[in-house]
């Protein structure tokens, strides 16, 4: 891969905006379920609109990805590394779309009003069913941990590409243009 092969500006913008939102979301989510302090209500107030924002952005991003696949992975990666790269991206896409839907669905099944911000309420997307709510609520937690683990692995792999392989994978997504480097 040449240093010039980069994802499009739109792709990079979506990537980094969503990286910031998802990271915020994961901290908000894990923080709000661990406290009965006054922060709880504020965190829930952020969690719901942020989740829907991630859902909308993730769908836009998925369409963009299909239209603009971006540069291929460098040839030096072995099969396991290729598999890990592809699989972690699939997991991240699936979670970005599935987690907000599960959250929305579980609130629907519990018949909580799905209030995004004061006065803006989403329709319910599942019938009222407490048992279904209990299952979805549990799945939401388990997948949140999977999300955190995958996020950290993705972040770690990006650093490996940037600092050890120096193979242009990181700079292809970096928000800035790669400086000419004698190492490449």
């Amino acid at each position: 891969m040449s240093a010039a092969a980069r994802f499009t500006t739109l792709t990079r913008l979506l990537h980094w905006v969503m990286a910031a939102i998802v990271l915020t979301m994961l901290f908000v989510g894990i923080g709000m379920v661990s406290t009965v302090s006054g922060r709880y209500h504020g965190l829930i107030g952020i969690h719901r609109p942020l989740g829907i924002a991630i859902l909308v952005l993730a769908v836009i991003r998925l369409v963009n990805r299909l239209l603009n696949p971006g540069p291929a992975l460098p040839m030096h990666l072995n099969r396991l590394e290729r598999f890990a790269a592809k699989a972690s991206q699939v997991v991240l896409y699936v979670l970005m779309i599935l987690m907000p839907l599960i959250g929305w669905g579980m609130l629907s099944a519990a018949r909580y009003p799905v209030v995004l911000v004061a006065g803006v309420q989403l329709p319910t997307i599942l019938p009222q069913d407490p048992a279904l709510y209990a299952v979805l609520r549990q799945v939401h937690t388990v997948l949140a941990y999977v999300f955190i683990a995958t996020f950290i692995a993705h972040f770690g792999a990006a650093l490996v590409h940037a600092w050890i392989y120096r193979d242009g994978v990181f700079t292809s997504m970096a928000p800035w243009r790669a400086r000419p480097s004698s190492r490449q």
Binding site: S34, T35, Y40, H41, A110, F151
Partner: protein
């Protein structure tokens, strides 16, 4: 990466096992009351009802919430006794509660849970937790250890003052003539943007009658609920929805403190309770009366109990939603053996 993982662990509470999480709060209820799958972890013994709220329009000067526009809105509610034991015998001294879900015409909901005490015994989630554990039955005697509660009150003078206020108020004879108070403060937001700190109460139309401990009916384990069911068979029961307006300086973050009695009050409408429904299949069964399910125009105050209630109720609801609930103590029509003449 390690930093990121540690940051998650810190925020998630794994490094601070003493942080009061919703799970820990609800586990304490189980520790005190034993395990009662399928039931609410607090206010476990209850009865559903359906009814309606007639707004008279007077609340519109204080809040833009549609609930205060003149008109009738349907209500699903629940009368209950405080405590996590779904089969406890009714007792005059047990705190009674009234929870409402008012459905607004625009699709919003207002959920509120009120108690028939003038102030709340604690003003922080931590104190609530300590009080809960201080009241747990002693392993040897099966009764709460009075020295533990005395220790708690000595460490929490605000609770000692609140308990004195609560004890000074005579218990009424039943649910129908109980006054139910929001205890926590909230903020009403008017259409102009002006905010007002308020507390509210459901004030019964039924005349006050003091509890009579010599009444032989009090030996019946469901006497309060059965009397309520019998009254509702006769006619609907009504409460006036009365909003109390704070003055600057009135505590909004301390539910142990009463507001001065001369504060202005606005009667914003009437709650009519039409029919009782046993909660095994009643409409209230699957509702979490989360006090922070609020319509636009009503906001939480800085009272720290509100977030704690919301978080703990959510945990309780999540647990019971995944469990199978045995039959409730209170049935409609009442079980023949417990029926009052």
């Amino acid at each position: 990466m390690t930093v990121a993982a540690l940051a998650f662990a810190y925020v998630g509470g794994w490094m601070s096992p003493h942080r009061l999480s919703p799970a820990r709060m609800i586990a304490a209820f189980q520790q005190v009351n034993g395990s009662h799958p399928g039931f609410r972890r607090n206010h476990a013994k209850g009865l559903c009802f359906i009814g309606y709220f007639d707004s008279n329009g007077a609340g519109q000067q204080l809040s833009k919430a549609e609930v205060f526009a003149p008109g009738r809105m349907s209500v699903v509610g629940r009368f209950a006794l405080a405590g996590g034991q779904p089969f406890q015998a009714d007792a005059a001294r047990t705190v009674r509660s009234l929870a409402l879900r008012i459905s607004l015409p625009n699709g919003e909901e207002w959920r509120t849970g009120m108690n028939a005490i003038p102030v709340f015994p604690v003003n922080t989630p931590q104190a609530f937790y300590e009080q809960l554990l201080a009241a747990r039955p002693d392993a040897a005697t099966g009764k709460p250890d009075p020295t533990r509660m005395a220790d708690f009150l000595a460490r929490h003078p605000e609770s000692a003052r609140a308990v004195a206020i609560i004890d000074s108020e005579a218990n009424s004879s039943g649910f129908a003539n109980s006054r139910f108070n929001s205890l926590d403060a909230f903020r009403f937001v008017a259409a102009s943007g002006a905010t007002t700190s308020v507390r509210w109460a459901m004030v019964p139309n039924e005349a006050f009658a003091a509890d009579d401990p010599t009444d032989p009916h009090e030996r019946s384990p469901n006497y309060l609920f059965d009397a309520l069911i019998a009254q509702l068979h006769q006619q609907p029961l009504q409460w006036h929805f009365v909003v109390t307006i704070a003055r600057p300086g009135d505590p909004t973050n301390d539910a142990t403190q009463p507001w001065p009695v001369e504060r202005a009050q606005v009667d914003v409408g009437t709650l009519t309770v039409e029919h009782a429904q046993g909660e095994d299949s009643g409409a209230c069964r699957d509702i979490n009366f989360d006090p922070l399910v609020l319509p636009s125009g009503i906001e939480p105050s800085d009272d720290p109990l509100l977030s704690a209630r919301s978080a703990a109720y959510s945990r309780s609801f999540t647990l019971r939603a995944g469990e199978t609930k045995p039959a409730s103590a209170v049935q409609t029509p009442p079980a023949p053996s417990a029926e009052r003449p």
